[in-house]
C-alpha cells in the first residue's frame, strides 16, 4: 500500500480514517511520524485556544444579567470606539435617527410647555405636560446627544433644525463619537423633496427624492403619540418619584419610574424604566431616557439636550448640498425614507453592475 496523503493522515488524527489506513499507519514508520507530528500540532492548536482562558468576570456578569432580564445588556465598554460598520445597519440608522430625532423634538420642544407649578406630584407634572402638548411657531435649532442601545459608534451628536409650524419640514444630521458625519436627512414639503446622506468609508452618498407625498401623520406627530403613551404609562406606574435638585445649571425636577423587569407580555408598548430631568426655571425637559419594548422589540434610548435656540426663518438652512467629491443619486418616492434609500442604492448597484 502506498503512503497516506496529507488528507488521510489528518483523518487518522481526527479518528475519521478507514480501517485500512489506520492499519497502514501501524506498519509504516514514515506515516506514523507524520501522524505524530500532526497530533503534536493539533495539541499546540488546542493549547493556543485554551490559553484564551475562561469567561472574564465582566462578561460573566453581563451575560448573567442578560439571561436574568431576558434581553441584551451593554458591556462596560458602552462608549467603545467602533470604526467599522456595515452598510445595512448604517442605512437602518438613518431610519432610527430620523425617528429618534423627531421623538427628541417632541421631548424638548413640545412637552415642556406647561406653567410653573407650586407644589406638584410627579403625576401632576406629567399631566400638565400632556395638557400643553401643542406645537408653536418658528424654527427651532436643537443640539443634543443621543444614545441608542445596539447602535455602534455612539453616543451620537445630533444637530436638528425643525420648523414648528410644519412638522414635516426638518433637517437632521448625526455625528459619531469620533466627530465624523454619520448620516443626515432633510425634508422640504414645499418643494416635495427629501434628501438623505449616508457616509461610507469617508465618502458621502446623497440620495435625492423629488415628488414625495406627505404622510397622513408626520413623523413628529407619530412620535408625539408615542411620547404621550410613554407619559401615560409613567403616570400609571405605581410610584413615579419626583425629586428636586440644585445643580450648577439651576434647579431641576427629576421624574422617574422605578425599574421593573419584563413580564413577558406581548403589549404594543411596554415601559421598564423612564426618567426625565426638567428645568425648574423654564420647565423644559433637558434629559430623557427610557427603556422597554415597542412592537415587541426592545428599545433603550436616551437624549441629553446640549443647546436649544430659536432661529430666524430667513437664516434657517434646511438644505443638504453635495460637494465635489460626493456621490449624488436620484431616487424615487417610496413609502418612507428607508425604502427610498434602499431602492436608490440597489438600483444604482444594478446600474453599475455591482461594481
Amino acid at each position: 500500500m502506498t503512503c497516506l496523503t496529507d488528507l488521510e493522515v489528518h483523518a487518522v488524527v481526527d479518528d475519521q480514517a478507514s480501517e485500512a489506513n489506520r492499519e497502514h499507519v501501524m506498519t509504516c514508520a514514515p506515516c506514523q511520524r507524520r501522524v505524530d507530528e500532526r497530533r503534536h500540532h493539533m495539541r499546540n492548536l488546542t493549547a493556543a485556544i485554551d490559553l484564551l482562558g475562561e469567561v472574564p468576570a465582566e462578561l460573566n456578569d453581563r451575560v448573567q444579567h442578560a439571561i436574568a432580564s431576558g434581553r441584551a445588556v451593554r458591556g462596560s465598554t458602552v462608549l467603545r470606539h467602533t470604526t467599522s460598520s456595515s452598510f445595512w445597519p448604517r442605512a437602518g440608522w438613518i431610519s432610527a435617527a430620523a425617528t429618534a430625532a423627531v421623538v427628541a423634538v417632541v421631548v424638548f420642544v413640545v412637552l415642556p410647555r406647561f406653567g410653573a407649578p407650586t407644589r406638584l406630584s410627579a403625576s401632576q407634572v406629567l399631566e400638565r405636560s400632556l395638557q400643553t402638548l401643542a406645537t408653536g411657531t418658528g424654527v427651532e435649532s436643537l443640539d443634543y446627544e443621543l444614545t441608542i442601545d445596539g447602535v455602534a459608534g455612539g453616543p451620537f451628536r445630533i444637530k436638528h433644525l425643525i420648523d414648528r409650524s410644519n412638522p414635516n419640514h426638518y433637517r437632521v444630521a448625526s455625528y459619531g463619537a469620533d466627530g465624523l458625519l454619520r448620516s443626515a436627512i432633510s425634508q422640504d414639503p414645499a418643494r416635495q423633496q427629501r434628501i438623505q446622506v449616508i457616509q461610507v468609508d469617508g465618502r458621502n452618498y446623497f440620495v435625492k427624492v423629488a415628488g414625495i407625498r406627505e404622510p397622513v401623520l408626520s413623523l413628529p406627530q407619530m412620535a408625539q403619540a408615542l411620547v404621550e403613551s410613554i407619559i401615560r404609562m409613567m403616570q400609571a406606574t405605581a410610584d413615579p418619584t419626583l425629586t428636586l435638585q440644585d445643580t450648577p445649571h439651576g434647579r431641576e425636577y427629576i421624574v422617574e419610574t422605578p425599574t421593573v423587569a419584563s413580564h413577558g407580555a406581548a403589549a404594543t408598548l411596554d415601559l421598564y424604566h423612564a426618567r426625565t430631568v426638567i428645568s425648574a426655571e423654564d420647565f423644559r425637559i433637558h434629559e430623557f431616557e427610557g427603556s422597554g419594548t415597542l412592537l415587541r422589540q426592545p428599545f433603550s434610548v436616551s437624549f441629553k439636550l446640549l443647546e436649544q435656540t430659536v432661529v430666524g426663518a430667513a437664516e434657517a438652512n434646511f438644505s443638504l448640498e453635495p460637494g465635489p467629491d460626493d456621490v449624488a443619486i436620484e431616487g424615487t418616492p417610496g413609502e418612507g425614507p428607508f425604502e427610498e434609500l434602499l431602492t436608490a442604492i440597489v438600483r444604482e448597484a444594478g446600474r453599475t453592475g455591482g461594481r
Partner: protein
C-alpha cells in the same frame, strides 16, 4: 451527566428556563467564549456573540425548542453569530495582522503556544472557525452543522486549514 445531555422535561415551555440557561452558561460559557475569541479578531464582538448565543438559548428553551444536542446547538448559534459579525466587519474594515494589537500575548505562555495562537489569528475566517470547532471537541457532523458546510468536506477543509496554520507558525 452534563446539563446539555439532560432529557427534555415534560413541562418545557411552561417553566422559566432562566435558571437552566444560567447553569448551562456556567458549564459551557468557557468553551463558547474561547471559540468566539478564536473565531473573531475583535474581543468586543466575541463578547457580544457570547451574550447573544445564550440569550438565543433562553428564547429557544422558552419556545420549547429541541434539546437533543444543545452543545452542538450552542456552537452552531455562536458560529452563525461570528460569521455575521465577521461579514459586517470585512465589508468596511480590512484587517491586517500588523495593525491588530487587540489580542496581547500573556507573559507566561510558552513560545510555541504563543506562535500557535498568532498563526491561528493570521488565518482566514473559515479556517479559524473550523479549527476552533475541532479544538473544542466537536465531531465532523457537528462541525458541519455549525459551519454550514457539507460533512463530507469537513475533513478536507480541516486538513487544509491545519496546513495553512502550520505554514504561519
Amino acid at each position: 451527566m452534563s446539563t446539555l445531555d439532560r432529557p427534555s422535561p415534560a413541562n418545557v415551555g411552561v417553566t422559566d428556563p432562566s435558571g437552566e440557561v444560567l447553569q448551562l452558561f456556567r458549564e459551557h460559557g468557557g468553551p463558547i467564549y474561547r471559540f468566539c475569541r478564536s473565531a473573531l479578531r475583535s474581543t468586543s464582538d466575541a463578547d457580544d456573540v457570547v451574550q447573544e448565543t445564550f440569550l438565543k438559548l433562553l428564547q429557544h428553551l422558552k419556545a420549547g425548542g429541541d434539546r437533543s444536542n444543545l452543545r452542538s446547538w450552542l456552537f452552531t448559534v455562536a458560529a452563525n453569530g461570528c460569521r455575521d459579525r465577521a461579514r459586517g466587519r470585512a465589508r468596511w474594515l480590512p484587517w491586517s495582522a500588523e495593525s491588530d494589537r487587540r489580542i496581547a500575548p500573556a507573559h507566561d505562555e510558552r513560545d510555541d503556544v504563543r506562535r500557535a495562537q498568532a498563526a491561528l489569528h493570521a488565518l482566514g475566517q473559515r479556517d479559524r472557525m473550523l479549527l476552533s470547532l475541532r479544538a473544542s471537541g466537536l465531531s465532523y457532523r457537528e462541525i458541519a452543522a455549525a459551519s454550514g458546510i457539507r460533512e463530507t468536506s469537513v475533513g478536507r477543509l480541516l486538513a487544509r486549514a491545519v496546513d495553512r496554520w502550520k505554514r504561519n507558525l
